[in-house]
Symmetry: C2
Subunit: 337 residues, 2 copies
Amino acid sequence: MGGDSAPDMVVDGVARARTRFPNVHFLLFGDQARIEPLLVLHKNLQASVTIRHTDQFVRSEEKPSLALRQGKQSSMQLAINAVNDGEAQAVVSAGNTGALMAMAKVTLKTLNGIDRPAIGGLIPTRLGESVMLDLGANVECDANNLVQFGMLGAAYARTVLGRERPTVGLINVGQEEIKGGENVQQAAALFRAATLPFDFYGFVEGDDLGAGTVDVFVVDGFTGNIALKTLEGTVRLYTEYLRQTFKSSLLSRLAFLLARSALKKMRTRIDPRLYNGATFLGLNGIVVKSHGGTDGFGFANAIGVAVDMVTNKINEFIMLELSEYGEQRPTEAVVTG
Amino acid sequence: MGGDSAPDMVVDGVARARTRFPNVHFLLFGDQARIEPLLVLHKNLQASVTIRHTDQFVRSEEKPSLALRQGKQSSMQLAINAVNDGEAQAVVSAGNTGALMAMAKVTLKTLNGIDRPAIGGLIPTRLGESVMLDLGANVECDANNLVQFGMLGAAYARTVLGRERPTVGLINVGQEEIKGGENVQQAAALFRAATLPFDFYGFVEGDDLGAGTVDVFVVDGFTGNIALKTLEGTVRLYTEYLRQTFKSSLLSRLAFLLARSALKKMRTRIDPRLYNGATFLGLNGIVVKSHGGTDGFGFANAIGVAVDMVTNKINEFIMLELSEYGEQRPTEAVVTG
């Protein structure tokens, strides 16, 4: 029931995902009376979908703490419960991010060795795509949080993106060791001191995102959220400038017609819908958050992210790595010493 | 002597600026033996330029504290001294940002009522351009710093951009009042409580930069620096994708030829060189920092920023505003109460 045009957009997304993943079964939590008529429109769904009726749902502007207390029977909470009960292997929602994170944290708990989950997502780069985290779950992060985000992001890059030995960079205001706040400096020292299942690249800067300098970009949730939205806004600005350019004269209108299919192909490389589906990493269960404003195409991609994470057993992998590298896990004394 | 290809690039920039501002006189601080031959290439400069020889200069990777102690006779320090002595009205440098800020702070001091100077710059938006600050001078900022940045940025928007009553937005991870860290929440409360010579818009997000939602974007220097570089990197990425697109087939090559002049015009709207010239706001003197990697065209634009600030008497204006609104300046008790 989450997202600007639910449940229509969600059912449309499920129908598209059903074509890509014919073996996936979908549990749809929400208002049966509204969902059922939509299923009639998508004949291919009937055998692949089970509706779980509830008439409670979390509003997009609801405070997470309130949603947590009063939303026990909400579609969001029931969907998370299904993962916790082992009935579903992943939950995908386009609803209220804060409420989804709060409910997921309380219900599923964090993995052993992870203090705080992070929101991770894919970004387009010159070389293809990279993982970036945290995208907004933690406004303030200490050095240990940042190091754990590196572990989580690297596990995602290895399992889902297939990068054998990912490179991890810490976003900072400069590449020199003296730059940045205490948390990033301490995190860099911790990365350098540990034996890790990935290569710590060092500090990277904002323009390294587009360049794809590393496989995993680690940053606090405040800066990460703002950087990601700056990226999206800049793509929108450039696209708008381009649109105006192709309308500016008869010649450029003609040029647009000639280059149309190539331009369309290019746009799919930076289409935000293609990168839809942020994952909550570090939880005992797979939770994927879709943009609330996306369409069925975008929502299907968010489902694709969840399927990839399940197929590649990312959490089993993270737990294995955490237990192997956990012995080195720095204590508070090492961090401040 | 600062920048990747100084002094050639600097002299080239001065020559270009000389054409735009025939009444400006330039003092060039640096190695006379290297600068003099370059002046011969630009006949128009000879009457407009005075060389002040020094063979000391600050290296790009030098620690600011070291540059400050050992660089008393450096071209950078001597140029700042010229502003402090009233001999020059502004200094423009493409050198080491940290050293420039450290020397400028110690030599020129901050304006009365300003605790810390900020780096401000223009960004391209759908509506034209906006001011953004801090771009990296202060990795950590408290609420008072952010409010002062709002005052400085609004003064810049009024005097240099001619926005009569600028709107000021505080960059955050969401628009709801409960979002973000303590410093942004307190700053928003202070903005709302004060009578200001601008309109406080409230919280804005990363994608509001490209949309041009407000005239002035206020943010801490860590996030601001990373967001600005993310913006620049995204423009570079999109341009690269576009370049590949126009090369992808014979038809699109033809399209490129047809749209060439329109595309060129578009590129100038987002050309980072056009936005070159970040200003150190809040100092007793005008200091403009050019990108180290820019060319003569970009450096001339940085000089243009300095000329605009001098012509529009920005510091006199800021001082007037600070004295008018200074009585309301919150005390620590109000901030935390």
